[in-house]
Symmetry: C2
Subunit: 398 residues, 2 copies
């Protein structure tokens, strides 16, 4: 994690080990009210919170806008769900139309300051597209590892942005291992979620924005989709840091939402093992959160427990219902994973896990883009079984 | 135009008639420096310019964020095109991922203040989707007229948002006539581009934002795609109003860009008639600007001429090239019409219509969204030949 130096506010030794119960793998700062920005009319960008990000002085180099997503009141959707004070944090408007743009931006910003020329990530889709587009904008090369079953639309988006894409037949877990191994071997910037602490650092900025957009208050409940986990963990860390800075008294309760077809953390939360068909990445339409072995799973459970929150699973039918309700009552379009928080709130309300009068925020984490029409995409892809030697061979042969 | 009352800055009589040479169909204000907002760190929203919009006092009722799109430096794309100072005004991040969101928001804002319950528009796609989503968010009913050949993805987006969609077999011109007739007969809010002056009023806010984002300077050149025309006319009016308010000395030169397969205004600009195959809405992939009889055509030619600008047409191959160059050098995704300004700048530079050292802004007007997965879209569609009686019958039978 050599790239996370440079912010003098970082507390030395905060990177020593990774004990979720102590949040030891997360960056710590010398928290004080002065680290928070002064009140402003709007929340324009993630960089607004750079005193709480591991970014040293000097101009921001990442060239695309990031963060500053709207918080939208959703009274009619709230009525439908039984919630009297519901807000949507709409993360669908960014470069790649998902909240993965935040993590991409911070990792690449750090890389640009350290002379990186290539960034790598393994992903089922959204993080890969975000990385491809962010790298294109920043003038970096992106080498991306995806399961060979990746959706054609998403592959086309990566190739349009000029990425080198390794289609790994052995699936996501192998893609993840290969991406990490390639990063170490070739000196590439490692943007892998749950591994690079900057991904959680970036995603915590959502909490800061919500706090400002609610006139410097914390909500009572925040619902977030959970795949690998950094989105929820980022929210948790952000609000905890607001407490540490003296800005709020207590963090919100966290509702983590998984798809019923792939819910290892919900079952772990319940102290059970997933039943057959409950840990299958192909078992749900919500591919953005279909992760059988979540990289930040322990931390998710820790954060949810310490927030007095809950984990719920929702079937695909509830995700489709939530997508429709979002579009028809708020005009916000969401992909299945992007609508999971809303679906989860409906389930949680039914089970008395959320009260009707709670100030509630649902993260809408992404919407689906179409691949652009393009004559000759500048990117290139290779199908490999899953060996690092194949990666070297592919890239050398280029 | 009863709905454009309420702004006391509006000069009485400005709506008398519609003479493009006099811009008489456009709203006029009592221009003064005080109508412009004070400098701020960011440009967060179109409503920032409400002293130059026909919106009376009181809170804005339209519930979704609109405007405040980023202006992105594009040095590597500029190098590719031969332009030394190129910027992108990225209009792809809004609710419906196109600049149609601005016009939709202002028309609906006005309608909400006048008790409207239904909004109507005829569109080949983007304005229809924007209207459906904006109406859903605002709690209005949307009744939308589209050619029966509308892209299935776009129809699905409208239905997901709960719109009533009339699929008109006789095509766009008939859809347009029917939408207007229905608005008059049923008292609906008429959001039709080029008819409702609010569409140009809203789109002019792009000029204000560019001016602020360039540290209160005007660019030398602004390139915009031209279909019906309001996008370019809005830019023209915005910069003219900045001159009128004493903010800039002269407006930028305007480059209007059409697709070679449907370029009635480029041929008119050249004093010629379109040749066979040059006025065909199906003759280009850029369906967003494929309009055979542009509603604001005369005004477009007037504005381009008075800006000392030019009109160019680009073939589909150049649009595809521009889409690829945008993605690979800036990370910005565009649909074909959304990339037309960039393609047009390449063509204009080759023909010495734009110089290498000009401060140049290209409007990237939209990107393509996928239809959301949804179990039962709340909207409904009817296929009709093209008679108003069919409209009544469809809606009565509902």
């Amino acid at each position: 994690v050599g790239e996370v130096t440079g912010a003098s506010r970082l507390v030395a030794g905060s990177m020593v080990d990774c004990d979720p119960a102590e949040s030891g793998c997360l960056l710590r700062y010398a928290y004080a009210p002065s680290l928070l920005p002064p009140p402003a009319a709007g929340v324009d960008s993630m960089w607004r919170y750079r005193d709480l990000l591991p970014v040293a002085g000097g101009p921001v180099r990442f060239p695309l806008p990031v963060g500053g997503s709207p918080l939208i009141a959703a009274p009619r959707l709230g009525t439908r769900l039984g919630l009297g004070d519901l807000w949507l944090k709409d993360e669908t408007r960014g470069t790649s139309a998902s909240n993965k743009d935040r993590a991409t931006a911070l990792v690449i910003e750090s890389g640009l300051r350290h002379g990186a020329d290539t960034v790598t990530v393994a992903s089922t889709g959204n993080a890969a597209v975000a990385t491809a587009l962010g790298a294109a904008a920043a003038g970096l090369r992106a080498t991306i590892f995806v399961p060979a079953s990746v959706r054609p639309t998403r592959l086309a988006l990566m190739l349009a942005a000029g990425a080198r894409v390794l289609l790994v037949e052995a699936g996501y877990d192998t893609a993840f291992r290969l991406s990490r191994e390639a990063a170490a071997r070739f000196g590439w910037l490692d943007r892998n979620t749950g591994v690079n602490p900057l991904t959680i650092e970036a995603k915590k900025s959502v909490a800061f924005e919500v706090w400002e957009q609610l006139d410097r208050r914390a909500p009572d409940v925040v619902a977030a989709p959970v795949g690998d986990g950094p989105t929820l963990c980022g929210v948790a860390k952000g609000f905890r840091e607001l407490v540490a800075c003296g800005a709020i008294e207590r963090p919100p309760r966290l509702l983590g939402v998984q798809a019923a077809g792939c819910q290892p953390l919900v079952r772990a939360w319940e102290g059970a093992s997933p039943r057959p068909g409950e840990r299958d990445p192909a078992g749900t339409i919500a591919d953005g959160i279909a992760v059988s072995a979540p990289s930040s799973g322990d931390l998710v459970l820790y954060e949810v427990r310490h927030s007095d929150g809950a984990m719920v699973a929702v079937p695909d039918a509830a995700l489709l219902e939530a997508i429709g309700a979002l579009a028809a009552t708020t005009g916000v379009l969401a992909e299945p994973a992007g609508a999971a928080a809303v679906a989860g709130l409906a389930a949680a309300f039914q089970r008395d896990l959320v009260s009707a009068d709670a100030l509630t925020v649902a993260l809408v984490t992404g919407r689906e883009l179409q691949a652009p029409a393009s004559r000759a995409a500048p990117g290139r892809s290779w199908t490999i079984r899953g060996e690092i030697a194949e990666v070297e061979q592919a890239l050398l042969g280029e």
